[in-house]
Amino acid sequence: MLSVVLKISARNVWRQKKRSFLLAGAIAFSMFVITIVNGLTGGVVDNIRVNFSHALGGHVFISGSEYREQGIVYLIADEQALLDSLAHYETSIESITRRSQAMPSLIFGSRQAMQLVYGVDFSEEDKLLSSLVVTQGSLERVTDEQTIILPRTVAERLGVEAGETVLMRLDTITGQRNVGEVIVAALIEDQERYGISAAYVNRSYLNSLLGLRPEEYQALNLFLTNMDDADEVGRGFREALGVPQPATLADIKEMDEEEAVRELFGMARVEEIEPWEGIKYQVTTINQIMEPVEAAVNVLRTIGLAIFIILLVITAVGITNTFRMILIERTKEIGTMRAFGMQQGMVRNIFLMEALLLSGGGALVGFVLYGVVSLVLGQISWDTMPAMQFFLDQGRITFDATAREVVLNTCLILAMSLLAANFPAKAAAKLSPVKAMSSNL
């Protein structure tokens, strides 16, 4: 029976080529739009995540702090002990970077600006160096002791250019004022608007200004073999290091209002800070840092979905009208089929199958179109647009529509078509054979 329904439906679809192409074309356009939006946002999120991880030096970040008489000192004093406690996850770790950090005032002439500065060991920061978009100067001399890589916007605020020297004024870990001098090696495209604006200096030099030994560092950052494992590995690290897990939505729901606000907005409970022995660790993952970006991208996705649904509704109206027209055109044919013993259900199924074939074909065409467009756009280099680089992979747009999204959108299209064709299909099934036979059409 299914083969009969399929054969007649397929030929009916093919019978009115122009009309079928128009309907399937509308469906293909809807599918293309939603898939391109999904693919683009998915690709952008992936690229931002990768570029964030390069800028931040890893996928999972472990910082340590000690409580000393003069206050809290951020430092990881015993790397081996830390790595030993994470040995279970050794195979998940691809590489490690070690960083110090400070928030000094950068001074050039009469101007100054507060700026986050990472002290990095450039010999282990290949990923960082390859991701930086240099707008002035070069990265050739970054390994020199007293050089700095400065965000372009900060350089503009200071009025400094590559090759010039800026002063760096900061507090040591013991709270004393200290000043150093660094030469601007390169200006890089700033990512301040996306939550990251960092300058980079040699770690040993920053350590000397902070009062740390050259080999010491404050944060151990880990690149994982699979970035998607960041949450799971982060959870494991917290368990291994005895760090409390971040509150889940369910936890927050159980908190009282004041507590929930503190948790949601990251407010410290100053009254609860008490002296502690040894090193207290904090574990953060790239996904936690990416949450605001993901939220922004989700807004885009929601807009895309809304456009998709509007297009689907318009197409659904088109399908209903077309099938009502088909019902009138095929009244006699339906009567003939019913006369020869076709049950009502089969008549209905022929109509529904036609709708499925049209929408399935349209969805397939839309997906193929997405594949072609993404392939073509993926070949174009956008190197001339530095502001875009944070969204791109090596200067190129990437698309990442997940199978789940594609399947979900296809199911939505198919369901909408069935719904739209259902009314005319039922009407066709209920058509009285005698009325159908006496039709003059």
Partner: protein, 238 residues
């Protein structure tokens, strides 16, 4: 034995506020294997009777019995099954399925059945019917590639493919020229004799009545004359 039995059948159509009495107490029987014709002018009730016998319409009152089973009170599913198992149809304007070729159009009613017939058997039977109606060279042609006479031959083969006990033909020659119409009637007669299928056709052309065994003449929704000739007359006498 009567394969079709109509007893005091009435059919009233309502057109707005007007009631049209299409049939006014029609009663007759048709025996198995007859080549019967319903004749009469337009509006005499020929098509209405064929629709009632064909189970695509129900009488307002009276009883229609097909193979001894009263069709009154049957639901749509039962009527559809009865049509599929017992009846074949030939229409004035052929009513072939435009998206199917000659072979597929003939095969179509077989595909609606619940019992699976071996493919080879189906193929042999359809090939036999195609040869009988002389369309072996047009088997892959679509209806729009055939002449009127050829289309009606396909319709005859399609009507016979399920080996129905009864074939109903509603003015089968009305859209054909007289020579092709004559050929089609001879073909129907031949199939009637070879397969012993009961044929009932409506016509207002009294010249073709000579071919039939049993003639039911209608006027204004009533049977005004019923005559038997040839085989039916002999059987009636015996």
């Amino acid at each position: 034995m009567a394969i079709i039995e109509l007893t005091d059948v009435r059919k009233v159509y309502t057109l707005g506020k007007t009631e049209v009495h299409a049939l006014k107490g029609v009663s007759f029987e048709i025996a198995s294997g007859e080549f019967a014709s319903l004749i009469g002018p337009s509006g005499s009730g020929k098509s209405t009777i064929l629709n009632l016998i064909g189970c695509i319409d129900q009488p307002t009152s009276g009883v229609v019995r097909i193979n001894g089973t009263a069709t009154n009170g049957m639901n749509d599913r039962e009527l559809t099954t009865l049509r599929h198992q017992t009846l074949g149809f030939i229409f004035q304007s052929f009513n072939l399925i435009p998206v199917l070729n000659v072979y597929e159009n003939i095969e179509f009613p077989l595909l609606l059945g619940k019992t699976a017939v071996p493919k080879a058997e189906v193929h042999d039977w359809i090939t036999y019917l195609v040869e009988q109606v002389g369309l072996q060279d047009h088997i892959k042609h679509r209806p729009n590639e055939l002449s009127g006479g050829q289309r009606q031959r396909v319709a005859i083969a399609r009507a016979l493919v399920t080996r129905p006990a009864i074939v109903l033909a509603d003015e089968p020659t009305a859209n054909l020229d007289s020579k092709t119409g004559q050929t089609i009637l001879e073909l129907m007669k031949k199939m009637n004799e070879e397969l012993n299928t009961t044929f009932i056709f409506s016509t207002h052309d009294s010249t073709i009545v000579g071919l039939t065994d049993h003639v039911i003449r209608l006027l204004d929704g009533e049977v005004v004359e019923e005559t038997f000739q040839g085989r039916a007359a002999a059987e009636a006498r015996s």
